[in-house]
């Protein structure tokens, strides 16, 4: 059944490519949309079959593939991957919906879109290290092409940078997986935690370090983030949406599933440093965002900041913080997708994303009032205003991480305050103020955005609100898994939790 989530988009992509004869862009688009709707429906069916009380893998599908390599076709889903699969389906659909109907080379474009969607599903579902790696790499090429072919003026630079960074990330991950097999002496790439004394700590640290940097590039964490702003600036809106909403989550997913899951001991040893790294990443991303003059770059740097919370939560690895990490992945996926979508609308109608040029777009008659209102909702959600998805995620992360790592958590909260600073700058400059059209056409209104193109943004806003107002659904879905993950690294959490209260709360109910 899980294979359906791979088969629909991947076969769909091949079918689009092989469709004989001249096919109109509109038809390709319809087909792609139909396939993506089918994929969403399929993942909803998986959700229906899913039992949230089980913490382990469910709906597993195992088939031997290349036995000599230890490569099995092994899929499974749990409370960590299911929400991400759902987000992937929804955002792929949104990306296809907001693609302009006059996109050049539609056949390749929609095929690549489907390919990405299928590969990401595969990466979230794969329960074999090599299989994960295959899908992880499979998603790179189409994304690279999407940036390199449909990107902005400086797309060659951005695409190459993206490709090099993520290729290094892939090499490191593959190296770590091979190193693991070599070190344990088994050619078995199934996902099992490395328990206790099987490996020396030096080797564990080395392998985990390689994985950390590999996934750190993908997330991205400071100082490996520098490909992200360029990729976002040059990518078209749907690609940015996918990149921020889904692909970055592969990095954090890998962090939780592989770094924390395979090397609990090494993770424990490193966790104070990781929490510090998270704080640096959050503060750096937020501070750098304040100085950005391009709306897309600003949102991209905010991603650097907000993905840092996930590292903090993973470092703490308490039940609440791991749940918070998942919440943050989901809410960041929705919110950043929403923000990129809206920036895309602004860019499409005004032709610029420059904060120094844009003014007063909230104007109800000549501006973009709906886009502006949704933007305000989006940035407020990102800044962690309660009632929207960002708040409950950040609250869970902070609540779970404060006791093990008080100082990094407080610094991350400062970062959450800084989010308000840069996004307020954005709203105040772009949407507030007086709309000043070029001198020669004083009364030309901006083109009206048709309602159909607003629907994805509206739907995402509703989803962000729902996540913020009724978080119990996601909580129920994921708690069993995240709690089990935390328990698997129990001895890891035990040390900092009991150490911190002695420092701060002597005798309080830590």
């Amino acid at each position: 059944m899980l294979s359906g989530l791979l088969v629909i988009p991947l076969l769909g992509a091949i079918a689009l490519l092989l469709w004989p004869g001249e096919v109109s862009g509109e038809r390709l688009r319809r087909t792609c949309l139909a396939l993506l709707v089918l994929q969403v429906a399929w993942s909803l069916w998986v959700l229906w079959q899913f039992d949230p009380t089980i913490s382990g893998l469910q709906l597993e599908e195992i088939a031997p593939w290349v036995g000599s390599l230890g490569l099995d076709y092994r899929l499974g889903i749990d409370g960590l991957s299911l929400p991400l699969v759902l987000i992937n389906g929804a955002l792929s659909l949104a990306a296809a919906l907001v693609t302009s109907t006059s996109t050049p080379r539609p056949r390749l474009y929609y095929a690549l879109l489907l390919l990405i969607s299928g590969a990401v599903n595969g990466a979230f579902l794969a329960q074999n290290l090599l299989l994960f790696f295959l899908f992880y790499e499979l998603e790179l090429i189409p994304l690279w092409l999407l940036i390199a072919i449909w990107g902005g003026s400086n797309r060659a630079y951005a695409a190459t940078k993206f490709l090099l960074f993520t290729a290094v990330s892939g090499v490191l991950i593959l190296g770590a997986f091979f190193g693991l097999a070599l070190a344990t002496g088994t050619a078995d790439f199934s996902l099992q935690p490395l328990l206790g004394q099987e490996l020396g700590m030096g080797v564990q640290l080395l392998l985990m370090g390689a994985l950390l940097v590999g996934f750190g590039i993908k997330i991205p964490l400071f100082p490996f983030h520098t490909w992200l702003p360029d990729a976002h600036t040059e990518a078209s809106t749907p690609v940015s949406l996918l990149l921020a909403g889904v692909l970055l989550k592969l990095g954090t997913y890998g962090l939780l599933r592989f770094c924390l899951g395979l090397f609990p001991d090494a993770w424990q040893l490193m966790s104070p440093w990781l929490a510090g790294w998270a704080a640096v990443s959050v503060l750096f991303g937020s501070l750098a965002a304040i100085q950005q003059q391009d709306m897309k770059r600003m949102v991209a740097y905010s991603s650097v900041g907000h993905m840092g919370y996930v590292l903090l939560a993973a470092a703490a690895a308490t039940p609440v913080s791991l749940l918070g990490a998942l919440f943050q992945m989901v809410s960041h996926g929705l919110i950043s997708a929403l923000l990129f979508l809206l920036v895309g609308v602004v860019y499409a109608t005004t032709g610029t994303r420059d904060l120094n040029v844009l003014r007063g777009l909230l104007n109800p008659e000549r501006g973009l009032p709906i886009t502006g209102s949704l933007m305000i909702a989006g940035v407020m959600a990102s800044a962690g205003i309660p009632g929207m998805g960002g708040f409950i995620s950040e609250f869970l992360v902070f609540r779970g991480s404060l006791v093990p790592f008080p100082v990094p958590t407080l610094l991350c909260m400062v970062g959450s305050g800084l989010t308000a600073v840069y996004f307020l700058l954005l709203v105040n400059r772009v949407f507030f103020g007086r709309l000043s059209p070029p001198a020669d056409d004083l009364d030309t209104p901006l083109p009206v955005v048709p309602l159909a193109r607003q629907i994805p943004a509206l739907a995402l806003t509703v989803a962000v609100l729902l996540l913020g107002l009724a978080p119990q659904a996601l909580g129920t879905l994921a708690t069993a898994t995240t709690t089990a993950m935390s328990r698997a690294s129990q001895h890891l959490a035990a040390l900092p939790v009991s150490a911190a209260p002695e420092r701060l709360v002597a005798g309080g109910r830590g």
Partner: protein, 616 residues
């Protein structure tokens, strides 16, 4: 505490009360977003007034039940996962319900007032949607008995303040005002969030009652306790516009007046109520109590002085709001919750009335500059009357609301800290002086060019104003009913006399003050410096600019530069270096197989050696 039997349905459904306001937002959306254009935005306004009325009536029904059967507490589970339980609990006690009635009642009056004040406003529906949001959040804050819910709603209040202040977003001053309001409150909120998260992690509970019992037994280190206390008071300090987070309230006066009515009366009350609820936890931190007294006194005196130097009619009143809240903070810090509540109530209704009266002046004259107003007294009798009653209600001059509350306050201070009693008297005297000055400038004297044609306002504004005038006049009677301390008049005659005499002295001084409009800026050098210092609010905005703003801007510039010149430059350098070396290596292609094999062998040997270290 709740009785054993299930509470009546009307009480069980009390969690709906904040939702009425939020429902108003949804109801106003079709008009606010422009889906419905043809009918004009009025229906959205009527719908919002209707839901506010519903909230008020529901609140009254619960209040009468509670008066009959004692307080209730209801809890709505919200989120439960892992070892974390978050629920929305509401405290249906006399105090919180009285505050609720104050919030919804004043919101009702302010919305009615807005019908007249914003008569020609094209985005009336948006205004009412925002007011609905505002009111819902406030109603929730006063009813909440869980720190989590309180924080949740306080942040929503911050957001709605931002949107309301930024209502006329096309004007540059409004944009900065909205930004400052949001960021100042946000600083307080983030600090408060730190406190909330810490409490949630340490105590594991979020209901105030549970937190009190935790705090009674908690053994925090002094550092942790003090940090916690300071974090917790930061939120209310920001909400109540206390020094050093007071600037936003003054700037927020760029927003529409009906929202200013609410902001200066009930929003600050909400902030103070939150502080009241936090008090038993603050016992963990003596430092935060000292900070409260110090900042409260500073704001009470400083705010009153700054108010006197303002020429903007709304700003002068907003500074006096900060000052009054300073007095409330002192009372709270000195463990006088009853007196603090009375002060809050009396101040809220009085200040709301003052702002309505000022709103009428602004609506009629389209001017809020004191030096351009004058002679309105005989032309606008209802407005004048409202100003006088409101002024009397917020000071200790005549036995209306604040007189009794301040009398109790002074009496209580005399016992513990006499110098604080002096501060209360001084702040009150300065407020009297300022209100006298404003009254003379606006309502007395000769007509100015802008005040020649000034008829009394339309009925939509006059009706709520006159109703509120009556309410302020009967405030002492209401205070007797809700009075939780022994007797409204339980202070000595000397205290009453000192309050009356200082007020009267300030009144006389205010009457004698030379107020020639051409001379509103003095030419005496030292006096001029003082005047500017006060008029520019001790240059607070510049202090912000050279401290916190400079810090954040400097750090962000450094981060951006580091990103550009180090991280990115390094990557680009590596890129161009590899390109260049490839160009160079191209030349070393010889075609000699030996060289290739040698290179390959060396590489393999190196790799294997490094691997052997790994597998060791």
């Amino acid at each position: 505490m709740p009785t054993d039997a299930a509470p009546p349905l009307i009480v069980q459904l009390a969690w709906l009360i904040p939702l009425y306001g939020f429902a108003g937002v949804a109801l106003a959306l079709p008009w606010a977003s422009g889906w419905i254009r043809r009918e004009g935005p009025r229906p959205a306004a009527y719908l919002n007034i209707f839901v506010t009325l519903l909230a008020f009536m529901h609140g009254s029904a619960v209040l009468s039940t509670v008066l009959r059967e004692g307080p209730y507490a209801i809890t709505v589970p919200w989120f439960q996962a892992a070892d974390l339980t978050l629920s929305f609990s509401f405290d249906l006690s006399l105090t919180s319900l009285a505050s609720l009635e104050l919030v919804t009642g004043l919101s009702l009056l302010a919305q009615f007032f807005a019908l007249g004040y914003l008569d020609k406003e094209w985005s009336l529906a948006r205004f009412f949607a925002l007011i609905g949001f505002f009111e819902g959040a406030m109603a929730g804050v006063v009813l909440s008995s869980s720190l989590f819910l309180t924080y949740f709603l306080l942040e929503m209040l911050t957001l709605s303040t931002y949107l309301l202040v930024g209502f006329w977003y096309a004007q540059p001053l409004v944009v900065t005002a909205a930004r400052d309001a949001f960021l100042t409150k946000r600083v307080g909120d983030v600090l408060l969030l730190m406190g909330v998260v810490a409490l949630s992690a340490w105590a594991g509970v979020m209901r105030f009652d549970d937190l009190y019992s935790w705090a009674a037994g908690a053994q925090l280190s002094p550092l942790a306790g003090n940090l916690l206390g300071l974090a917790l008071i930061a939120g209310p300090l920001g909400k109540c516009a206390q020094f050093p987070m007071h600037l936003w309230l003054d700037e927020a006066m760029e927003g529409p007046n009906p929202a200013s009515i609410l902001r200066n009366s009930v929003v600050v009350t909400c902030g103070a109520l939150v502080l009241l609820r936090l008090m038993p936890i603050l016992q963990l931190s003596p430092l935060s109590l000292t900070a409260l007294v110090a900042l409260g006194s500073l704001t009470a005196i400083g705010g009153s002085l700054v108010a006197i130097a303002q020429v903007d009619i709304k700003r002068t009143l907003s500074y006096s709001t900060s000052a009054s809240m300073g007095l409330v903070f002192i009372a709270i810090a000195l463990q006088q919750p009853g007196i603090a509540l009375l002060l809050l109530f009396a101040h809220a209704v009085g200040k709301a009335l003052l702002f309505m009266s000022v709103g009428c002046v602004i609506a009629t004259t389209n001017c809020q500059d004191l030096s351009e107003l004058g002679g309105l007294g005989r032309r606008m009798p209802a407005t004048t009357c409202a100003f006088l009653v409101g002024a009397a209600g917020t000071t200790g001059l005549v036995p209306l609301g604040c007189f009794w509350a301040l009398g109790l306050d002074v009496q209580a201070m005399l016992r513990s800290a006499p110098w604080l009693a002096a501060i209360v008297l001084l702040a009150n005297a300065l407020t009297v002086l300022n209100l006298t000055r404003v009254y003379r400038l606006v309502f007395l004297g000769a007509s100015q060019p802008k005040t020649r044609r000034t008829p009394e306002v339309n009925w939509q504004m006059a009706l709520p104003m006159v109703s509120l005038t009556v309410l302020v006049l009967v405030t002492p009677l209401i205070m007797v009913v809700i009075d939780p301390v022994p007797g409204l008049a339980s202070f000595s005659l000397p205290v009453a006399l000192s309050l009356l005499l200082t007020s009267a002295g300030a009144l006389v001084a205010g009457c004698l003050l030379p107020l020639r409009k051409g001379w509103s800026v003095t030419i005496l050098r030292p006096l001029r410096l003082l005047q500017e210092l006060l008029a520019y609010d001790f240059y607070t905005d510049r202090i912000y600019r050279v401290t916190i703003v400079a810090l954040v801007a400097g750090l962000s510039r450094a981060a951006a530069r580091f990103d550009r010149d180090v991280v990115n430059a390094l990557v680009n350098r590596v890129g161009s270096l590899s390109l260049a070396s490839a160009e160079g290596l191209k030349l070393s292609v010889t075609g000699h197989t030996q060289t290739y094999v040698l290179t390959g062998t060396v590489a393999i040997v190196l790799l294997l050696t490094s691997l052997s270290w790994v597998v060791r």
